[in-house]
Symmetry: C2
Subunit: 375 residues, 2 copies
């Protein structure tokens, strides 16, 4: 089994074209990771997810630890085997979901204590337990447990939260058992305070991780602020390690962040939006439930290779969503994931060819984004 | 375009191995038609339905006339084109669903007047309108509109209902415009009264149809009574036309009915059961939601070729159904449809080879059916 690692293949400005090697294969970057919350990308067979071009999935520690349970997943041979996905998997630490359980959780220096949203049972998630769970899931990439600082937060609140996250990062590193092909990522916090972001990078690189995530963004601060944080933070990170922007985002977010040197992304947007009838296309977003589609025989996106666009028209997709037929969410999820993966493939090719600036201009034009300076 | 027709290829006792030619291709019989209620087999892409071995689908006139509307389907090029299924389609007349709307409908000599379950709007379904809708849907096989006699019903009630159905059958025939490759089926009614069944067959053959359905069974009369009605009725039907047993049934129903000379079946059982976690297997039925499956890595059915059985274990399928993940219903639907189609393929091969009796014995044994005499 090969060592876990990152190879930088090409650069265009701050943007990077790379390759991550893991126990379950390689990932071309910039990469978008579909979210497979509870051991499944909702509505998609693993083979269909691979067909979209995805090379790595994200699994949610919080959901999987509660159901079917980390020990059970381990007995079943790990998450890859259980869900029939033989390529790389990154798991989050569980922290983000647990911290979102307002009223159901208690945070201490040692751990976060919370009640399951499924059956109300009490659970304790510490850095050590999070790492143990992710090992049982057999994640190729394990995330350190951190506190997700709420937004907005004062500088003092953010600094205190960051300090706890950095202590937990060190504990996560100690708890992580190195195995060939498996990597551990630390998470840069610090909110919108650039000096705290610098402090966080210094703390994490001192501990030493196989990759670095940027957390606490896309939580309401706005794209401009997010890009400002990336402009400041990304250059501070080690060039020989992958950089992962957590929970982001819109197609424009991905293009802008890749231009700032981000290598990895995850977001529920393509899957969740697909289930509610929102489609991302080469002409911008549309809602297929809108009555204007009810007699339209044209495909969602004439340039798309997915089954929703190759086999069906908008009128039919509209009908499926109005009739609440399962095939509606299935097809729009498939389409949105294909759109996202094709966007990433376009970014990778543009970086390789040194034409990322032109790519971004064309992208902004087709999306009807007036102010391409923002990307 | 070839003529609509039925070719009898082989027989084994009363059982028939045949082929139906339609405008959209041929159907090997005995055949099972998955139900695509509202223009989709729930949770399945058309290509996946074809992979299971299905050659013909059933569409529901009632659902399609209300949403997306027959005129709209016609504008979109017909049901095949709209839903991406280029093989034969049979549509029901709408009568069964409309008659099931207790309290919302009124039956007259001319038509049935009912209110939509979707928006409460009033609609009129006459034999002429049903035939017109099915033409707009572009059904390869159109069903005459009849009254579905409730069960239980007295002989008098059944006779009166039958008489109306036979008058409607004649009106359906008059309203049907003959086109090459398109056929019209009449429906034998008469409940559990064998002399009324004989009368119905005489009336329908006098009118003349391209195929004959047997309706009003599997409504609570029990398998033994159903088989008795088939034993009486099937031999009365013209040998050169396909025979369709409507809304049936369990795997054992299909085997027993095929042995009695039935060529076509439809039922929501494999799809609806799949969505609620019921799986049909070569060892009988199981409910994947049952806790005994939660740690079981074995496939649902080791001899099945479907993705649910080839790629996943019972523990994972259990998890998907418990977590109410869409992939759970998708996979069990896929499995059940594959099981049903493989059963039909087995029946066809057994009839061809003149070993249907042995096939039925083996089927009853693997299903744990003690009393194979009943089949």
């Amino acid at each position: 089994m090969s060592e876990f690692g990152f190879t930088l293949l090409a650069a265009d400005g701050a943007a990077r074209r790379g390759r991550i090697a893991t126990a379950h294969g390689t990932v071309e970057t910039p990469a978008f990771m579909p979210v497979g919350t509870a051991g499944t990308v909702k509505g998609m067979l693993p083979g269909a997810v691979a067909e979209t071009g995805a090379e790595i999935l994200l699994g949610n520690t919080y959901h999987l630890m509660l159901r079917p349970g980390a020990e059970r997943v381990e007995r079943l041979g790990g998450l890859h085997r259980m869900m029939g996905w033989n390529r790389p998997i990154l798991t989050d630490s569980g922290g983000f979901q647990v911290m979102s359980l307002t009223g159901l959780r208690k945070l201490t220096e040692d751990a976060v204590i919370f009640r399951s949203h499924i059956d109300g049972s009490e659970h304790v998630l510490s850095p050590e337990r999070s790492i143990e769970i992710q090992r049982m899931l057999d994640a190729d990439i394990t995330m350190a447990l951190d506190e997700c600082t709420p937004h907005p937060a004062t500088r003092e609140q953010t600094a205190a939260s960051l300090a706890l996250s950095m202590r937990w990062a060190a504990r996560s590193k100690s708890a992580f058992t190195r195995r060939p092909g498996y990597g551990l990522f630390g998470i840069v916090q610090g909110g919108v305070y650039l000096d705290l972001r610098s402090q966080s990078v210094a703390d994490l690189t001192e501990i030493g991780f196989d990759g670095y995530a940027i957390g606490g963004l896309a939580v309401g601060e706005g794209q401009e602020t997010m890009f400002a944080v990336l402009d400041h933070t990304a250059p501070l990170l080690p060039a020989d390690r992958p950089r992962y922007l957590m929970g982001v985002g819109t197609p424009a977010d991905l293009v802008g962040a890749a231009m700032r040197g981000i290598d990895m992304f995850d977001c529920v947007m393509p899957t969740r939006s697909g289930r509610t009838g929102q489609a991302f296309t080469r002409r911008g977003k549309l809602n297929i439930r809108n009555a204007r589609h009810q007699d339209d025989p044209r495909p969602l996106d004439a340039d798309c290779r997915c089954p929703a666009c190759r086999q069906f028209g908008r009128a039919y997709l509209h009908h499926l969503h109005r009739a609440e037929e399962m095939l509606g969410p299935i097809l729009l999820t498939w389409h949105n994931l294909t759109y996202y993966q094709d966007l990433m493939a376009g970014l990778r090719a543009a970086i390789e060819d040194g034409r990322l600036a032109e790519f971004a201009v064309a992208f902004a034009a087709e999306q009807g984004l007036g102010d391409i300076e923002r990307l």
